[in-house]
């Protein structure tokens, strides 16, 4: 089975920064492939190049059997690209938005009604068809964006952080629609900054400074985090990190927004030890508990691994 998306040595440079550096990956029909990484890792740039709206500096990419660099227009009929600021016209109704994209992609009127009803049903939006897109809730807008993107039965779907800021119910609808597409042998390439989102993909590539660090299944990805992640909420995170960073059993310490994330070998035994230690050092903290690893934890674990400098 040939790949729906395949890139080789894909590179894009912006003034002063190498946004995407010799990227090589393949996405197969019926597969959801996740580009995972923090902001600025090169996810959006990669998606834009694959969508044919940004010209790479070097390298090649084939999408739906078409060379996206030399003949982007041929591929565009088979692609659906949903940018972060997806292209909904807020002064058009739900139906009018769907019809616009259906017209643009030349979807015959006979198929259109059935397809849009089916998609809107799945999105739980059937009763909002005459509402202006601008009057929809955030989650609804995202789902409408997806419906518009799917109306012409694309072979490749590119989604840039599609569930960013979406409520849990809409997010569930969103994923249900995505999974239902896999039976149509559609290839989905999406970016996300959330690890729980990445876990829903078949395979993920961890991006760092435009390079792929790992490309594997989410389960494999998580093995890079050995042990558990503890979160310490503290008004003085820097002191906490200094005090606990070198403690026994602590593999890694990472400053996050309101505290410190510690990677430890065993959560059950280390939590009491660390608590005693902080109390002894008179360090103020509000909470110490085990949390699900975030993309940053994974990222720190993965980068320290590739740097060969394990703590």
């Amino acid at each position: 089975m040939s790949a729906a998306i395949s890139t080789s040595e894909l590179t894009k440079r912006f003034p002063g920064v190498l946004a995407v550096d010799r990227l090589h990956f393949e996405v197969h029909p019926g597969e959801i492939f996740g580009l995972v990484g923090p902001d600025g890792a090169g996810k959006t740039t990669t998606l834009r190049m694959v969508a044919g709206v940004l010209t790479p500096d070097s390298g090649s990419a084939t999408v739906a059997g078409c060379d996206i660099i030399h003949d982007p227009e041929a591929a565009k009929a088979h692609i659906s690209y949903m940018p972060q600021r997806f292209g909904l016209y807020e002064d058009l109704t739900v139906d009018e938005n769907i019809h616009f994209y259906a017209d643009v992609f030349g979807v015959p009127r006979t198929n259109r009604e059935q397809r849009s009803r089916q998609l809107l049903d799945a999105a739980g939006m059937d009763q909002f068809r005459t509402r202006l897109a601008g009057k929809l809730s955030g989650g609804m807008k995202h789902k409408l964006g997806l419906v518009c993107a799917l109306i012409h039965r694309p072979r490749v779907i590119l989604l840039d952080e599609p569930t960013n800021g979406v409520d849990p119910v809409s997010r569930r609808d969103f994923w249900r629609i995505l999974y239902s597409l896999l039976q149509e042998r559609i290839a989905i390439l999406m970016s996300t900054a959330y690890l729980d989102e990445a876990e829903r993909c078949h395979r993920v590539a961890l991006l760092h400074q435009g390079r792929i660090l790992f490309c594997e299944t989410p389960a494999e990805l998580k093995t890079h985090i050995r042990g558990a992640v503890l979160s310490v909420i503290s008004p003085e995170p820097r002191r906490v990190r200094a005090a606990l960073g070198g403690a026994e059993g602590v593999l890694n310490a990472l400053l996050v927004g309101d505290g410190v994330h510690l990677v430890v070998d065993d959560a059950a035994s280390r939590i009491p030890e660390l608590r005693t230690r902080m109390q002894a050092a008179a360090l103020p903290f509000d909470r110490l508990e085990e949390v699900a690893p975030t993309i940053e934890d994974l990222f720190v674990a993965a980068t320290s691994e590739t740097d060969g400098s394990r703590t």
Partner: protein
């Protein structure tokens, strides 16, 4: 070019225009206001120049002479004053533009046949009005002179003396020498330039600003389909605005329309394509609605106002500027619209100007289509 994609863009634009009530109101209100503003505001007719008189003699003869100023539609005698100071004050305050001072021995000197000097003090801050004041005053004096000479000759036995030479003037095309007739068709041209480019200057920039462009360029829509699809609805609006302006010119300002409607329609179509494409081009380049609409306004209004022959006749401009005017599409349209309205010129005589407009229309549509790249930069 695929019909279904073109139709999709056209339909979407129409829906968006219909939902955008303020903009829709602007497209009706702006031509109306501009027509009224320019139609009444811009006038080169100088009439009813305010005049003060200081009659130092106050004789029957001096009053008779001053009545001629009062009788002329060019002058409006506001006030008669009785001292010099008041005259100076009136000129200083701008209460009058012209002050006539009659000397003390006016009638006496006239009788003796000696030359009498009547003083005319003129506010020349506006040199044009000042020049007109001088020549109209001279004309009044001239007729008065003739009458006196005639009376003198008749008293001395010469009957019915005719001046040896006179100009037999017949004014063509604008028989009443009304500047409205010259200006209003020009105003129609200027409004079309401004409105046309303004309308389209927002279209592409709006899509960039609202973030819809990134998805649109990822679809198979071609730059030509996008441009034509966006221009068609605004072309219709532009034609309606033109009809509104032309209707006002004919029925409100009573400017004669002597030409053929077909020629008028053809030239309006070409000119609209020019200005709509120009606005579209600016929108593509600027990517921001504010910058694009301002750039479009400057790029169309100023040349159309200053360099098209609207205010200043092109053949009176310095040679370099005259050459430059050939690059201004409004110049050709200005000629056509004035000729069609006032002269009723038929197609063959306007062919050069129409061809020039057509050339600009083709060039600008190509430029606008080429400028749009289906890429993010």
């Amino acid at each position: 070019m695929r019909w279904h994609r073109l139709a999709a863009i056209v339909r979407k634009e129409i829906l968006q225009i219909r939902r955008d009530l303020p903009s829709l109101l602007i497209t009706v209100a702006m031509p109306l206001l501009l027509m009224l503003g320019f139609g009444y505001g811009v006038s080169f007719d100088i009439r009813h120049i305010p005049v003060y008189v200081y009659d130092r003699e106050s004789s029957q003869q001096s009053q008779d002479f001053l009545k001629r100023f009062q009788a002329s539609e060019y002058f409006n005698v506001m006030k008669t004053v009785d001292n010099y100071q008041a005259v100076i004050q009136a000129l200083d305050a701008g209460a009058c533009r012209l002050a006539i001072v009659i000397p003390v021995n006016f009638s006496e000197q006239l009788k003796t046949g000696g030359p009498v000097s009547v003083q005319a003090l003129i506010d020349a801050t506006d040199n044009n009005t000042a020049n007109v004041s001088i020549s109209y005053s001279e004309a009044v004096v001239q007729t008065y002179n003739q009458q006196i000479q005639l009376e003198w000759l008749q008293r001395h036995g010469q009957a019915r003396l005719q001046p040896p030479l006179k100009v037999d003037a017949r004014t063509w095309f604008n028989e009443d020498l009304e500047s409205t007739a010259n200006i209003v068709p020009g105003v129609v041209a200027i409004i079309m330039a401004v409105i046309g480019s303004f309308l389209t200057s927002l279209t592409i920039a709006r899509e960039w600003e609202r973030g819809t462009m990134e998805q649109l360029v990822s679809t198979p829509v071609t730059p030509l389909e996008l441009m034509v699809g966006k221009l068609v609805p605004y072309f219709v609006i532009g034609l309606l605005d033109t009809a509104l302006c032309a209707g006002m010119a004919i029925w409100w300002f009573e400017v004669p329309f002597r030409g053929q409607w077909s020629v008028f329609f053809l030239s309006c179509t070409l000119f609209l394509i020019v200005v709509l494409s120009l606005g579209y081009f600016v929108s593509v380049v600027a990517k921001s609605q504010l910058a694009a609409s301002q750039a479009a306004l400057i790029a169309t209004f100023l040349p159309a106002f200053l360099l098209s022959g609207f205010i200043y006749p092109i053949d009176q401009m310095p040679a370099v500027i005259q050459v430059t005017t050939h690059l201004i599409p409004a110049r050709y349209f200005m000629t056509i619209i004035r000729d069609v309205f006032l002269k009723g010129t038929s197609l063959p005589l306007l062919l050069d100007d129409l061809l020039a407009l057509a050339l600009f229309a083709v060039l600008l549509t190509i430029l606008a289509t080429r400028a749009f790249q289906k890429k993010l930069s």
